[in-house]
Amino acid sequence: MIKLSLKSKIWFTVLSVVVMFAFFVLFYFPEQQQRTLLHNYNTEVQNLANTVALGVKIALTEQNLEGVETAMDFVRKNEELKFVGLMQVDSTSGLKSIFKTVPDDYSIPADLLSNDTMIVKTASFSTPLMTGDIVLAMGTDAITTSKKEIRYTSLFVCFIVLCVGVFIGFLLARNISVPVLALRDAAIRVGEGDRTQQVKSGSQDEIGELGRAFNKMVKALAVAEAERKSAQDQLILSEKMASLGQMTAGIAHEIKNPLNFVNNFSSLSVDLLQELEESTDEEDKKDILESLKSNLGKIAHHGKRADSIVATMLQHSRGTAGTKVPTDINHLCSEYTDLAFHGMRATSRDFNCAIVKNFEDGIPLVQAIPQELSRVILNLLNNGFYAAAERERKNKESGNTEYKPEIRITTARKDGNVIIKIRDNGSGIPKAIKDKIFEPFFTTKPTGQGTGLGLSLSYDIMTKEHQGMMSVDSEENNFTEFTLTLPL
C-alpha cells in the first residue's frame, strides 16, 4: 500500500477533475465543434448551389440568358467563393462542358471533389433548353479561422479552470487537511501523556465538531487522571497508615514492659530506702545500697528504652521527607523485628512464630533513612508472618500439627554492601506470580486485607531512595526469602 497523505488525496482528486475537464475542453469539445461547423458549411454550400441552380433553371425556362448570369452572380459577392460554374450536359452524349464560370474562364477540373481548402457542391437542373449542373466551390478559410478561435478559447478556459482548481485545492487543503493534521498531532501528544492539548474548533462543519469533541474528551481525560492519581495517593497513604496502625499494638506492648520495670523498681527502691532508714546492720545497709544502685540503673535503662520506642514510632509516622543519616542496621532490624513480632501477637493471639536473629557483628553505619527502611523491614516481616500463619492454618485443616512457623532475619556485610535477608518457612511464592509481587496493587490476600502496595513501596524505598536492591527467592511449600542490599 502506498501511503498517501490526506493532502495528496485532496490534490489528486481536484487535479483529476481539472485534468479531465481540461482534456474535454482542449480536445473533445473543439473537435466536436469543428465537425459541426464543417457539416453546417457543407449544408450551406449545398443550399447555395441549389439556389443558383434554381435561379438558372428559372432563367433558362424563361429563355433569359441574363437571368442565368444574375443567378450565378448571386454568389459572386460571397467572400469565400472560389468559383461557380455552369456545366452543360449534352442530352445525347452526356458529356459535360463548361458553359459559364464566375470568375470567368476558370477551368474547372472534371469531377472535382471537396478537399481541405474548399467545399465543392453540385446542384443539377433540367430545362428544355439546357440540362446541367451548377458546381459551387467555397473556401474553408472562415472555418479555419473559427477553428483557431475555438482552440484559443478552450485553452483560455482550460487555464481558468486550472487556476480555479488550484484555488479550490488550496481551500480544501486549508479547511480539511490542516485541522485534521492538527487533530492528529494533538492526539499523538495526548497519547504520549500531554493532557493539556486543545485544537482550534471554530468551524461549523464536521471537522469543527470533531475538534470540539476532541477538546472535551481531552479535558475529561485530564480530570479522570487527576482523580485516579489522587485515589492512588490515598491508597498509598492508607497503606502507610495501616502499617503504622499495626505497629501501634506492638508499640503499646513494647512500652508496657519497660514502664512496668520503671514502676516496679521505683516502688521497690522506695521500700528499700525505708528499710535503709530503719536498718542498723552494716552488711544489710551495704546490700540495700547495692540494690538501690542497681535499681536506679535499671530504671534509667528501661526509661530510655521506652523513650527510644516512642522516638521510633514518631520517626515512623513522620512520612517520607526523610534525610539519610548514619544508621545501625543491626539495631534497626532487631528493634523492628521485636515490634513486628509484638504487633503480630497483638492481632493474632493464636499464632506464634519463632524468630531467629542472626546479625553479623561489626557492620558499619549505613547512610539510610531509618523510618523508610524500617517500613520495608516491617512490611517483609509482616508478609512473612502472614505466609507462615497461612501455611499453619492449612496444615491444621488437614490435620498436620508438625509445622513450626519460623522467621529468620540475618544481616551480613559483603563486597561493600550490607545484606539483610528475611526468610519465612511459609508456602512460598508460585512461579506464575513471582514477577508480579512487586507490582503496585498486586496482592494474594482476600479483598480488604491488603492494599497490594507494601512490596512495591518497599521496592521503591530500596532502589530509589537508597540506591540499593531488593530481590526474592522462593520455593513452593518450603520458604520465601527476601534479600535487601544496601550500599555502604
Binding site: F261, N264, F265, K298, N352, I355
Partner: protein, 128 residues
Amino acid sequence: MATKLLVVDDELDVKDLFLQRFRKEIKAGKFSFVFAHSGEEALELLSHVQPMDIVLILSDINMPGMTGFDLLQQVKEKLPALKVFMVSAYGDAANMNRAKETGADGFIEKPVNFQLLEEKISEALENA
C-alpha cells in the same frame, strides 16, 4: 521449707524484680526462686532439677520461640502436679480463657501486682 518457684520470662530484669520484691520472704526461707528466660530453658530446668522441688511456675505468655501456652501444655502433660500461673500484658478474656482451658491454675496480669500474686500463690498452695 521454702516454696520453690520457677519464673519464666524473656525479660532479664524480671529476675532482679522478683529477688528484690521477695527478698524478705527469701531471707525468711518462705520462698526460693529459679529463673528461666525461655520455655525451652524452663523445660530443661524441670527435667534436671528434682521435679518436686518446684511447686509453682510463673510463666510469661508472649515469648519468642515456645510461648507460655506451649510450655503450659507440656508441663501439664509431663508434670501435672505442678501449678502454673500465666503472666501476661494481654489480660483479655480470650487469653484468660485459653489459659484456663489449657489447664493454668491462675492468671496474673502485667504489671504484676505482687500483693495479689502472693495471695494467689498462697491460695494455690493451700489447695494442693
